[in-house]
């Protein structure tokens, strides 16, 4: 539908390469309620696709299928045009999919370094975890992302929302994610920190990483995304190019579930 658009964005879309991720006809239900109902979305390298919708529209559920937290009942996931099995978070990581969750998914009792490397610790030749080397790496990456970050030896429960978010983002960035899922990355942040995340998204995009951005905030999506997919009641309302729509178009898609007039099929 959208791909016949001739308009070229900064991404690889339209140049004939297969999408980085294609989620085809995904369905998942919980106890008879269809949380996601035959939804298809795709994502190209260097592109930011916004996922919009009310609470309970199914956007988080859809994305958790991709990150391995939920298993779909029906559908197919393709990465670089090849069908892949993602049945748990380990599979997702193996496919270079990293997720920054709304709830941050940090272990509060551990320090930033341990959280950054959780599940992928560096070990010494004896098989013991190499805390000093990991802390050195952590300091390096944090110096890039958030130069003010100093609390390397405190548990992350002692950090501010923005600092915690930097840790979560560092985790995704450090391990060379190709596909990044951000679930309301700025929900708990102040204006300055929100700007920091926005700058980071531009930076990652320039590196050719594909980003799914889940957000409530239409303005944030308008600022950051190339395309937006809108969901309502578990169904996909439509996918639009941000350049072609206004805030109001997006809002009416979210609230009324209507495609903007110029996009009728």
């Amino acid at each position: 539908m959208q791909d016949q658009e001739t308009q070229q964005t900064s991404s690889g879309r339209g140049s004939g390469v297969p999408p980085l991720v294609e989620m085809r006809d995904i369905s998942i239900s919980f106890g008879g309620i269809k949380a996601v109902d035959h939804v298809s979305v795709d994502l190209y390298p260097g592109e930011v696709v916004g996922l919009l919708g009310h609470n309970g529209a199914g956007k988080s559920t859809l994305i958790k299928v991709l990150s391995g937290a939920y298993q779909m009942d029906h559908g197919e996931i393709l990465i670089d045009g090849k069908s892949v099995e993602i049945t748990n978070p380990r599979d997702a990581r193996a496919n270079n999919i990293e997720t920054i969750y709304q709830t941050l998914a940090l272990a509060d009792n551990l320090d930033a370094t341990s959280n950054l490397f959780l599940g992928r610790e560096m070990v010494t030749p004896m098989g013991l975890v190499n805390d000093a080397a990991m802390e050195a790496e952590c300091r390096k990456i944090m110096a890039q992302l958030n130069p003010n970050f100093q609390k390397f030896n405190d548990p992350v429960s002692a950090l501010s929302g923005g600092q915690r978010q930097s840790v979560a983002i560092a985790r995704a960035v450090y391990f060379n994610a190709r596909i990044l899922i951000m679930d309301e990355p700025t929900a708990a942040l102040g204006p300055h920190e929100t700007q920091m995340v926005a700058d980071l998204i531009h930076q990652l995009k320039a590196q050719g990483i594909g980003i799914f951005l889940i957000d409530h905030d239409v303005h944030a999506v308008m600022d950051l995304c190339d395309r937006a997919s809108v969901m309502k009641n578990g169904k996909l309302v439509g996918t639009v190019d941000i350049a072609d729509v206004t805030d109001d178009d997006l809002l009416s898609m979210i609230i009324l579930g209507k495609q903007p007039g110029q996009k009728s099929e």
């Binding site: 380990r90 997720t99 998914a105 940090l106 009792n109 975890v129």
Partner: protein, 408 residues
């Protein structure tokens, strides 16, 4: 800081009892006995730390101790000598027995862990059931009888029957001190090599000094507890020699205490320096985060409970060897002592927080309290009333302390 507080409480307790008992509490003899009485609970408390850190609980450790003890008692008194015809006190008996016991404990623990992790039955229920099942499996296996005497080599792992002797104890003490100081130093060097801030030299030196005094002090104490003359005479008679007049031989470090030290050091390294340990604490801090980070939390649960079962079997070796037989009520109420030791030692039931040395100190404080009161002549019911109250009070102090610190 917290560690210092606990050591302080322990020292005050000891000095207090010593004054009340006219100096009978702080004698080499009593401290030796205190340490061998603590070992069984302390070993299990180390495993309980991991269980509680991952937000589980194990109510079955006393019963599991009884079952593994019964398995080992039957192996060494029935299976090996009679059924397999190896005879009594065969030199291989102790090793085979312990191997079978450890295997049984590990398998039962893993089974508990499988039910908790994969069948998602709450650990409280699984181990409450296990408490009834294993206590009575032990009863059934032994028909409720006291099984003894146990293999003579096996008895070495208990209390007074197996000690290192003075020379070996000093060597061990010096070795342990050297290792501890090396560990401190190499940790510091690793930090310094990456240019991280390190603690001031005086702080680390003080810590090293405290560790050295604790280790060597303990060796000095157990070495000065000498084997009673009558007993020494019998030992010489057994070898067909006569005892030289006026000979004094110290006990040295009990082998059971050595086992506890090995368990404690190993598990501390596991907790701090292995992925397994890191995942245990991460899972305790935020199970969802751990799962989403790609940690297989179900398998982790199985491993933790298997470790607990293994440690119950180790405790069973120590406990039955100390008593020189397997009695039907072995390990009764140990589950509560073990949980209490871990909790007094600073393990948070909400998960994610706990240390091995804390649990051992907790076990030591409880045992000191119990045997101190017994020496003073406090009635048995009051002893338990005091221990119970101390448990609640200790946790309350911990909560207040953590609030002050602003941690959760």
């Amino acid at each position: 800081m917290r560690l210092l507080g606990m050591i302080g409480a322990f020292v005050i307790l000891c000095i207090g009892f010593n004054i009340v008992t006219d100096g009978r509490f702080l004698t080499p003899r009593n401290l030796f006995n205190l340490s061998i009485q603590t070992v069984s609970v302390a070993i299990m408390a180390c495993g309980m730390v991991f269980i509680i850190v991952t937000r589980h609980i194990d109510l079955s450790v006393g019963a599991l101790l009884a079952t593994t003890s019964a398995v080992m008692a039957m192996t060494q008194t029935e299976l090996l000598p009679n059924i397999l015809g190896m005879g009594l006190n065969n030199p291989a008996t102790w090793a085979i027995t312990i191997l079978i016991g450890l295997l049984a404990g590990t398998l039962i623990g893993a089974f508990h862990g499988w039910m908790v992790g994969y069948l998602t039955i709450p650990a409280f229920i699984v181990t409450l059931g296990g408490f009834l099942v294993w206590r009575n499996v032990a009863w059934y296996m032994t028909s409720g009888q006291t099984i003894g005497p146990l293999d003579s080599t096996f008895l070495m792992f208990g209390g007074t029957n197996g000690t290192l002797g003075t020379t070996a104890s000093w060597m061990f003490g010096l070795f342990a001190t050297a290792v501890a100081i090396w560990a401190l130093w190499s940790g510091r060097r690793a930090k310094a090599s990456h240019g991280f801030p390190v603690k001031p030299v005086w702080a680390e030196s003080t810590l090293a000094g405290i560790i050295a005094i604790a280790i060597l002090g303990y060796v000095y104490i157990v070495n000065s507890y000498s084997i009673p003359t009558r007993r020494l005479e019998r030992m010489f008679e057994a070898r067909g020699e006569t005892m030289p007049e006026g000979l004094v031989v110290g006990y040295g470090i009990p082998i059971s205490v050595l086992i506890l030290i090995i368990v404690a050091v190993t598990l501390t390294v596991v907790a701090r320096k292995t992925r397994f340990g890191r995942y245990i604490f991460a899972t305790g801090g935020n199970p969802d985060a751990a799962e989403l980070s790609g940690i297989n939390t179900r398998l982790l649960t199985v491993k933790i409970f298997a470790l607990m079962g293994f440690l119950c079997a180790v405790s069973a070796v120590v406990a039955s060897a100390r008593l020189a037989n397997h009695s039907n009520d072995i390990g009764t109420l140990d589950e509560l002592r073990v949980i209490a030791a871990a909790v007094i030692g600073g393990t948070a039931l909400s998960g994610g927080i706990g240390t091995i040395y804390g649990a051992i100190l907790g076990a030591l404080i409880m045992q000191a309290l119990q045997s101190g009161m017994a020496m003073v002549g406090v009635d048995a019911p009051f002893q338990n009333i005091v221990v119970g109250s101390v448990l609640v009070l200790a946790v309350y102090i911990d909560i207040v302390y953590r609030k002050r610190l602003g941690a959760k």
